[in-house]
Amino acid sequence: MWNEIKGLFGARRASREEAKGRLHLVLAHDRAGLDGSRLQDLRGEIAAVIARYVEIDPESVELDVERVSRDDTHLRVSSPLRAR
C-alpha cells in the first residue's frame, strides 16, 4: 500500500527530474568542450598549481562544469585545504 502511494507521488516524479539533471550536466560539458580525459588533465594541472602555494591533497581537488544558461557556463574548482 505504502509503495503504491509512494509510486503516485515520489518515485513517479523522478524520471523527468532525472532527465533534466542529466541534461544540465551533459550540456555543460558539451558546451565547455571538456570531455573526460581533458577534464582529468585540467584537474591534475590545477591541483599541481594549488599545491605549489598551499598544502592540499591533490586527489581531493574537484572540478564541476555547471551550465547556468545557454551563454553562461561556470567552471567551479573546489579544493579542501589540509589542516595545519
Binding site: R12, R16, E17, A19, L23, V26
Partner: protein, 265 residues
C-alpha cells in the same frame, strides 16, 4: 523573394521529415507556394513520406550538375495546389554537392516560391552544412528525450555561429506522461535549449498511419491532434498568429491561470 527554412535536429528519427511534409502541406493549404527540398543526399525519405516516390525522374544532384532544369526535377503534388517536392538523389554521396551550390539552388527556388522548406539530414557534417547553407531561418525539432535535446543543443550552437535565427518544435509530447512526471515538458525543453517555441506536436498514432500511406496528416481528411498542431505551427510561421498559447489552442482561462501562476506553464 520567398523564405528558406531548414528543418534540422542533429539526431535522426525525431521527426524532421514528417515535420517538413506536414508543415509544407499546411502552408500550401493556406495558399502559399511551397517547395520541399530533400537535402538528405544518399538517404532520401521525404518522397516516401509524401507518397511521391513513384514520380521521381530527376533529382537535386541532377540540377546541381546541370543534367536538367529545376522545373524538370520538381514534382507537383496533385492533392493540393502550390506544393512541390524536390527529391534528393539516392545514389550520390553527400559530398557531390557543395554548400555554395546548395546556396545558389535555394536562392533560385526562393525566387519562384513563397517557402522553401529544406529537410536536413541527421548529423552535423557535410550534409548538415549543405542543408543550412541557403537557409534564412531554422526550425530545430526535438523530442523530450535526453539524447535528442543534447544533439539539438549542439545544432543550435552551430546555427547561432552562422547567425541563422532558430525556433523550436517540441515533437511527440505526451501530456499524460508529462503530468505523471515521466516526460520532460515542452517548457523544460524550451528552458534547456533557450529557444523560442514555434509549437509542440503531441504524440499521435495518426502520424504512423499517415506515414504508412504516404499522406501527410495535414492533407488527410480527419483532423488528428498532430495535424492540428502542424496547422498551428504553419500559422505561426506565416505570422498569422504570434502567440504560441493561442496557436496551441490553450484556453483563455488556462492562460489567465498560467499568467497568475495558478496552473503549470
Amino acid at each position: 523573394m520567398g523564405r528558406a527554412i531548414v528543418i534540422t535536429s542533429g539526431k535522426g528519427g525525431v521527426g524532421k521529415t514528417t515535420t517538413a511534409a506536414n508543415l509544407g502541406a499546411s502552408l500550401a493549404q493556406r495558399g502559399h507556394s511551397v517547395v520541399l527540398v530533400d537535402a538528405d543526399i544518399g538517404l532520401r525519405n521525404l518522397d516516401v513520406v509524401m507518397g511521391l516516390e513513384n514520380r521521381i525522374v530527376y533529382h537535386l544532384v541532377d540540377i546541381v550538375r546541370g543534367r536538367c532544369t529545376a522545373q524538370k526535377a520538381l514534382i507537383r503534388d496533385r492533392r493540393i495546389d502550390n506544393l512541390y517536392l524536390l527529391p534528393s538523389s539516392q545514389s550520390d554521396e553527400k559530398e557531390s554537392v557543395s554548400p555554395d551550390e546548395m546556396r545558389d539552388l535555394v536562392r533560385a527556388l526562393k525566387g519562384a516560391y513563397d517557402y522553401v522548406l529544406i529537410d536536413c539530414p541527421a548529423g552535423i557534417e557535410q550534409g548538415f552544412r549543405n542543408a543550412v547553407a541557403g537557409a534564412d531561418e531554422a526550425i530545430v525539432v526535438a523530442t523530450p528525450e535526453v539524447s535528442s535535446i543534447r544533439d539539438a543543443d549542439r545544432v543550435v550552437g552551430l546555427l547561432a555561429a552562422e547567425d541563422i535565427p532558430t525556433r523550436l518544435i517540441c515533437n511527440r509530447i505526451s501530456a499524460e506522461m508529462v503530468k505523471r512526471g515521466d516526460m520532460l515538458s515542452q517548457d523544460d525543453v524550451i528552458e534547456i535549449l533557450s529557444l523560442e517555441l514555434l509549437g509542440a506536436v503531441p504524440l499521435d498514432d495518426a502520424i504512423v498511419s499517415s506515414t504508412n500511406k504516404g499522406m501527410p496528416a495535414t492533407l488527410a481528411g480527419a483532423r488528428s491532434a498532430a495535424a492540428r498542431a502542424y496547422e498551428n505551427i504553419a500559422s505561426r510561421v506565416t505570422g498569422e498568429i504570434d502567440d504560441v498559447a493561442v496557436a496551441q489552442g490553450i484556453g483563455f482561462f488556462a492562460r489567465i491561470g498560467r499568467a497568475l501562476g495558478l496552473s503549470p506553464a
